[in-house]
């Protein structure tokens, strides 16, 4: 299924165009395109250009620091890292079953995060493309342009996001990088006042989320040609589903399907994810490329996130979102929908589901309970998986008898989508750039395809690489602050 255009056969006489940085996404990435003198496309790559090295420097830290530290990988979805790490550490402290209060507070936090992240992505980042057009004027292709032309849309986006952030603040203590979840449970429950404050607004949030689904569905129906074919490619897909087969973004087991929608695997305990997934490195990106072991590198890559989840699960447990899921599935017909722009529709269905789930949780008295933490028999290795806003997020730790972390492996949502995003930009390059004079508007088409996946390039930069170059950083006085060089044989930092 891997398309060509990954690597040009011959680099001579090719012209390079770079989209650098890819904008209106979270994190740092760029796209490079190689063209010949007739503007034929020879190579297109989405590069992840930064690194952190988190897996290394977390080693030797006490495990209880991890849920707080790891959030600093990503300030857009810190709750996902906070909770995935906590779930892995639940295994390590032997907390087989959390108290109902702890589990529901974590769920509330997570669905608050889904709501805020989906709202941010759709309203603040993507509506400019969808409402003004992909090659509309650059000066208004942003949230300020939306606020001017569609003030009510901008206002609702801001308030939906605000509500999600308030859910996080009440459960985690802080809107960004809170501390609410701990190995074995949580460190606070909701007070009645906090709960009532959220209850006051939740009905409005459900209604606005539903309107958002209607809006994106309408866009899809108005222009099916564009929405169904833009950057479209066939792919396997994977997500965690609840033990009952329903959509569950907090807990469950792994299920995967092929491009026809046939189940490839189901009921896989994520503690065993290494039996399912392998990763490979390509020299032009710091982000690795995962694939299903059973299918191998060429055929085994897959897609995660809302478009996968909505089509992978059997049902949504909340009524309004379930109606929308059925309509979405019916629209696709016998085959799953693969079009990148359908991500927006699926994402808004999830936002509605998140709002409804928050509403149900807020009516549950367990949220105000006082039993917060449990522990049991100590283990030395644990895996935590959560469905983050952008897809399946895997955290894996080993901890020694002194409670220090000895090994950490993270596969973040955006990494799972690495090959898929590259496929999408190559398709768009073939569909729109091929043989044309390259304009800013045409290049934005490439970015529209990247944005559909809601990539979090911030999350994806925890790895580290080297370069066949030398660099020095000088301060204003011309003194050397930093230097890096690589010899042919190895890496030397001085």
């Amino acid at each position: 299924m891997t398309s060509h255009l990954e690597t040009a056969a011959n680099l001579e006489n090719l012209r390079r165009i770079a989209i650098d940085p890819v904008s209106r996404v979270e994190g740092h990435g760029k796209v490079t395109i190689l063209l010949d003198d007739k503007n034929r496309v020879h190579q297109v790559r989405l590069h992840i250009v930064e690194f952190r090295g988190f897996e290394k420097f977390i080693q030797g830290r006490p495990y209880w620091e991890v849920p707080v530290m790891v959030q600093r990988l990503c300030g857009i979805c810190p709750v996902s890292h906070h909770l995935a790490a906590s779930k892995a550490l639940d295994v390590i402290v032997g907390a087989k079953h959390l108290t109902p209060t702890a589990e529901k507070i974590r769920r509330l936090m997570h669905y608050g995060q889904i709501l805020q992240s989906h709202a941010l992505h759709f309203f603040h980042l993507c509506t400019p493309d969808l409402l003004f057009g992909f090659d509309s004027e650059i000066s208004r292709r942003n949230i300020a342009g939306i606020a001017e032309k569609y003030p009510e849309t901008a206002r609702r986006g801001i308030l939906l996001r605000k509500f999600g952030q308030e859910v996080i603040r009440h459960t985690a203590g802080k809107r960004v990088h809170g501390t609410g979840s701990v190995p074995g449970g949580v460190n606070k429950s909701l007070s009645i006042i906090e709960r009532d404050e959220l209850l006051k607004d939740i009905y409005q949030m459900v209604a606005w989320s539903r309107d958002a689904v209607l809006m994106v569905k309408e866009l899809h129906h108005q222009n099916p040609e564009l929405y169904n074919s833009f950057g479209a490619f066939r792919a396997n897909f994977m997500s965690m589903v609840g033990f009952d087969g329903g959509l569950d973004l907090y807990h469950g087991h792994l299920r995967g399907r092929n491009a026809n929608g046939d189940v490839l695997f189901d009921g896989v305990d994520y503690q065993n994810y290494t039996q399912l997934i392998e990763e490979e490195v390509k020299n032009w990106s710091y982000m690795k490329f995962p694939y299903l072991k059973s299918l191998g590198r060429e055929l085994g890559w897959y897609r995660v996130g809302p478009l996968s989840r909505i089509q992978n699960c059997d049902f949504l447990a909340t009524p309004l979102a379930e109606i929308e899921r059925r309509e979405f599935i019916a629209y696709g017909g016998v085959m799953p929908m693969h079009a990148p722009l359908a991500y927006h529709w699926a994402r808004m269905i999830e936002m509605l589901h998140a709002a409804e789930t928050i509403k149900d949780l807020l009516h549950d008295d367990d949220l105000t309970g006082s039993e917060l933490v449990v522990s049991g028999e100590r283990a030395f290795e644990g895996v935590g998986v959560i469905e983050a806003p952008r897809g399946t997020l895997i955290h894996h730790y080993r901890v020694d008898e002194h409670d220090l972390v000895t090994m950490c492996n993270l596969i973040v949502s955006t990494t799972h989508n690495n090959q898929a995003m590259n496929e999408a930009v190559r398709r768009v390059a073939q569909q729109y750039l091929q043989g044309h004079e390259i304009t800013e508007g045409l290049l934005n088409h490439i970015e529209v395809a990247v944005r559909a996946f809601d990539p979090c390039l911030s999350c994806a930069t925890h790895a580290l690489g080297k370069m066949p170059l030398e660099v020095e950083v000088l301060n204003e006085a011309g003194e050397r602050l930093s230097y890096f060089a690589r010899s042919g044989a190895g890496t030397h930092a001085c």
Binding site: P151, R161, K466, S482
Partner: protein, 183 residues
């Protein structure tokens, strides 16, 4: 803020070696964003499609400097922005990414691209398109002059709002005790 009599101030923002949490906190000014948009316009920022910083009144940078490209972008901001603000722990002292500063780059590379779980035939990416990592992560003020620092990881939305409105109204920005925190 007073009614806008003047032309809008131009504001550029970027994230270098940061997590976007400081930008998230900026957006946490919520509805006040609509008010702010009456007084400012964004130049280069993750919110717009402007790829290079042009002449600006205010530049806001989250994250420290971890690779050659960060240095380049930071210098571009300094050259173009009358006032440059370092926002958050990473910009001010390196923050979480600087935890690799006590390790050698080679060690970290080995871990991520060779020793990692579930990795097949690992090697270290070395394409010229990838910016060169620095051996250490640096705070911004070690590379260029910074005019104001807003501490916190991230600073609260109220702190960011206070600094911006002070600047818009022509006051010297001041946070005061209740808006300064370091977590």
């Amino acid at each position: 803020m007073n009614e806008p009599a003047q032309p809008k101030l131009r504001v550029a923002t970027t994230s270098l070696a940061g997590c976007f949490g400081c930008h998230t906190s900026f957006l946490d000014i919520d509805e006040r964003l609509l008010e702010l948009l009456k007084h400012i316009e964004f130049d280069r920022s993750p919110l717009t499609d402007i790829k290079h910083c042009g002449p600006c009144d205010i530049g806001i940078i989250e994250g420290g400097v971890c690779n050659a490209e960060n240095v380049h972008v930071l210098r571009e901001f300094r050259a173009n922005c009358k006032i440059l603000i370092a926002i958050g722990a990473c910009a001010i002292n390196g923050g979480l990414p600087a935890q690799r500063n006590h390790l050698s780059l080679a060690e970290v590379l080995e871990e991520v691209y060779h020793a990692q779980h579930g990795l097949v035939d690992g090697f270290i990416p070395n394409d010229p398109e990838l910016p060169l990592p620095l051996d250490k992560v640096h705070p911004l003020h070690e590379v260029v002059k910074i005019d104001y620092f807003i501490p916190g990881c991230p600073p609260s939305a109220d702190a960011i709002w206070k600094v911006l409105t002070d600047l818009l109204d022509g006051r010297e920005p001041e946070l005061g005790h209740d808006l300064i925190h370091y977590d």
